[in-house]
């Protein structure tokens, strides 16, 4: 038993005795009849200090008595001596044993060849010196001792081999805790080296995806057919509305076609009219641009984007133009149309609508999702205005046919589709910037490079996982690219489907899969993959309203020619008034048509995929005309 433990036992034992004695004494006192004080007071004020003092006295007495015992003191001295000896230098152990020099050198060599920790080498040195001392003790003379020393050395053999064998044996004698620490140490060293290798990797940029995208989108683009110059000039000529009408113009929510009456006073209309006149030059540039098939600006890396990352391209110039078209000129166009209607100039209003629809064509040809969405919005507003104009004016058959033909030929290669190649290129560009190239799995994720892309995400700082953890756990480059391409292929297939097809076939499973990917293994694939459902639905709905508008024009022509509306849309097609029946994105057929007396109703089933017989949820019309609980009705249009 160690000395300290023995002393501790003595102290605890004596303390327990003291506490017991004092408690016993206090109980006796109470029983005898010291009733002048309460038990609590007696215990607290009188007995407790006495108890503590007695405890202290007896405990110290026990400790001192224990320490005085010779055996324990001797043990303490021995332990102290042993600790001193454990630190005795090995050379001192070997060379101070009165052994011949050759023996001492031999033992020293064995111990050196061991290459082991000091304590084990000291033990072996003591053991071998003891063995040689015992072996040489038989020699009577120095010569005899030398002979015995040589003989014993020969019997021991090669010192290097012996050192190795002894080391092996001592290695096996290591206590488990040393083995554990050594294993941990080795693991930490290896992990450190692995981390260093991991962190010090650098990407190899081989493909300039921005140049690839520029080349892709500039095919066929010339200075003569590029609308961008016109739009830039239009923006430079644009006059902001004066403060007196700015709030008025901005006050109406144009996001989803105003359904209320535009209730302005004459003076307000006059101010708006003046603002429209001031923007006539800008509008003419806008019109000129709308006639061009392309709207292209070569994207470039700015000076701060030294790594030439596509994600670092801010699209400032382009997005400014797009936002300006979507904000300034969309509003300008709508106010022009309303002004034209107020003045009874319906043909002028329809021409302005056509200009806006033409702009949507060249905003689609570039793979930028923002531009696609701006185009959808502009087109939607313009088509709705056309329907309002048709509903509230009497156009001639020739005018109806003219505008129907213009709309029918607006998209000769079919209605616009979302193009995700820009997003795919951005993903591949990100891969080549954040992964090394070569090695196991094609390369690993570099923590330092990942930081740039994570900082641009919308997640809160507290929710962003650590970069190094992601890098360690993320799948390798080849697997990431394969998975990414698989997802992008699925998205590409997805965006070509109508909402109804997605509803009955895959039920949004593509997007569900990307969200349910293992968080760290495919972390890069969870963020840049766009949420496409809303965007693809918008495209389908925009196509539907385009076809619905053409259909309404055809129906109006039929009525003028026949005196009444047809019984079905097929009659229109059969009669040559309609080249293509309008598809309903929310069913497996065409838009629903019902003749009702002197009028008709033309509608889509809407996002609930249920036929409500042309009844629309009017409360939802403003915010979600397609996603309310009823149908989405194109005709009759709401009264304005």
């Amino acid at each position: 038993m160690s000395v300290s433990r023995c002393i501790t036992r003595r102290i605890v034992r004596n303390a327990a005795i003291a506490v017991g004695l004092n408690l016993g004494a206090s109980i006796i006192v109470e029983l005898i009849g010291a009733h002048r004080f309460s038990v609590q007071e007696v215990l607290w004020h009188l007995l407790l200090p006495v108890c503590l003092f007695n405890v202290f006295l007896l405990a110290m007495t026990g400790g001192i008595m224990a320490a005085r015992e010779e055996k324990l003191m001797q043990r303490w001295l021995t332990a102290w001596k042993n600790r001193r000896q454990e630190k005795e230098p090995i050379e001192h152990i070997i060379y101070h044993q009165d052994l011949p020099g050759c023996v001492a050198d031999y033992i020293n060599l064995i111990v050196k060849k061991m290459r082991y920790r000091g304590k084990a080498r000291r033990e072996v040195a003591r053991e071998l010196t003891g063995h040689f001392a015992d072996a040489l003790a038989e020699g009577a003379s120095e010569a005899e001792k030398q002979r015995l020393a040589k003989k014993t050395i020969d019997e021991f053999g090669d010192p290097a081999l012996l050192g190795q064998l002894i080391r092996r044996g001592k290695n096996r004698c290591r206590p488990a805790w040393i083995r554990g620490f050594q294993a941990i140490g080795v693991f930490i060293i290896l992990f450190g080296l692995y981390t260093l290798w991991f962190v010090c990797g650098s990407p190899t940029i081989k493909i300039d995806y921005l140049a690839v995208m520029n080349k892709m989108h500039s095919q066929g683009v010339t200075d003569q057919n590029n609308a961008m110059d016109h739009y830039e000039k239009a923006e430079s000529l644009f006059v902001e509305p004066p403060a007196s009408v700015k709030d008025l113009i901005d006050g109406l929510d144009f996001q989803n076609s105003p359904i209320g009456k535009i209730d302005l006073t004459d003076s307000q209309w006059a101010l708006v009219g003046k603002w429209i006149e001031q923007n006539e030059p800008a509008w003419q540039e806008f019109v000129a641009g709308s006639k061009k098939p392309h709207c292209f600006t070569e994207l470039q890396y700015d000076s701060s984007n030294k790594e030439k990352r596509m994600a670092g391209v801010t699209y400032e110039d382009r997005n400014d133009i797009v936002k300006i078209l979507g904000r300034h000129f969309r509003r300008l166009g709508l106010w022009r149309i309303w002004m034209d209607r107020r003045r009874g100039e319906m043909n002028q209003a329809l021409q302005d609508c056509m200009v806006m629809i033409q702009v949507t064509r060249n905003l689609h040809n570039n793979g930028n999702l923002l531009e696609h969405m701006i185009a959808v919005l502009i087109g939607k507003n313009a088509h709705e205005e056309i329907l309002h104009i048709i509903a509230n004016s009497r156009l001639s058959a020739d005018d109806l046919e003219k505008y129907q033909q213009q709309l029918a030929w607006m998209y000769p290669q079919g209605y616009l589709q979302l193009d995700i190649e820009g997003q795919r290129a951005g993903f591949l560009d990100m891969v080549q910037h954040v992964f090394t190239e070569g090695g196991i799995g094609g390369g690993h994720l570099i923590p330092g490079q990942l930081k740039f892309y994570l900082e641009s995400t919308s997640e809160a700082e507290s929710e962003k996982p650590p970069y190094y953890l992601i890098s360690m756990l993320h799948s390798r480059r080849d697997e990431t690219v394969a998975k990414g391409n698989e997802i992008w292929d699925q998205v590409d297939k997805y965006i070509k489907m109508s909402p109804y097809q997605r509803h009955i076939h895959i039920n949004d499973s593509v997007l569900v899969n990307t969200v349910e990917l293992p968080k760290y293994k495919y972390f890069l694939l969870r963020h840049p993959t766009p949420v496409m459902r809303g965007r693809t639905d918008s495209m389908c709905e925009a196509k539907a309203i385009h076809e619905a508008t053409i259909t309404v024009l055809a129906l109006q022509r039929w009525r003028l020619a026949k005196g009444a509306y047809p019984e079905s849309l097929q009659e229109l097609a059969d009669g040559g008034y309609l080249q293509q029946l309008p598809d309903d994105p929310y069913s497996d057929g065409i838009l629903k048509y019902q003749k009702r007396g002197d009028d008709f109703v033309l509608y889509s089933l809407g996002a609930d995929f249920e036929d409500d017989q042309g009844v629309q949820d009017t409360d939802d019309r403003r915010s979600h005309p397609w996603h309310g609980s009823g149908d989405c009705v194109f005709w009759p249009v709401p009264v304005r």
Binding site: E123, E127, L128, G130, D134, L162, L165, I166, G169, C173
Partner: protein
């Protein structure tokens, strides 16, 4: 007589355990005892002895303690453990069977015929 290294390799641990089973010894004492008790037939190389002892210690078959002598020098005494005793017993049984089998092959003893 110099024995084949591989032959001695198998027998060394068991004879060391046997000698230690009769009492604790230090390294030099053990090597002398081995020669003496085997009639100088078995000579364990000194270079083999200590690695063997450390291996046996690592396996838990023997244990070692430093003891201080009167002259102040220390010796490391080895003694057999309970596990070592069990191992020794099983090894001795195996050696006996092996010896009987070899003797029969060499014709040094008659085969034991099992009676039904």
């Amino acid at each position: 007589m110099k024995f084949e290294r591989e032959l001695l390799k198998g027998v060394a641990p068991v004879v060391v355990l046997e000698i230690l089973s009769r009492g604790a010894m230090y390294g030099y004492e053990l090597s002398e005892a081995l020669e003496q008790r085997s009639g100088n037939i078995l000579t364990l190389g000194r270079g083999t002895l200590y690695p063997l002892l450390y291996n046996l210690e690592a396996k838990g078959l023997i244990q070692a303690d430093w003891q201080e002598m009167e002259n102040g020098r220390k010796r490391r005494y080895y003694s057999i453990t309970g596990k070592g005793k069990g191992k020794l017993a099983s090894q001795k049984e195996q050696w006996q069977q092996l010896q009987e089998g070899v003797n029969m092959v060499f014709g040094w003893s008659a085969p034991q015929i099992a009676h039904a």
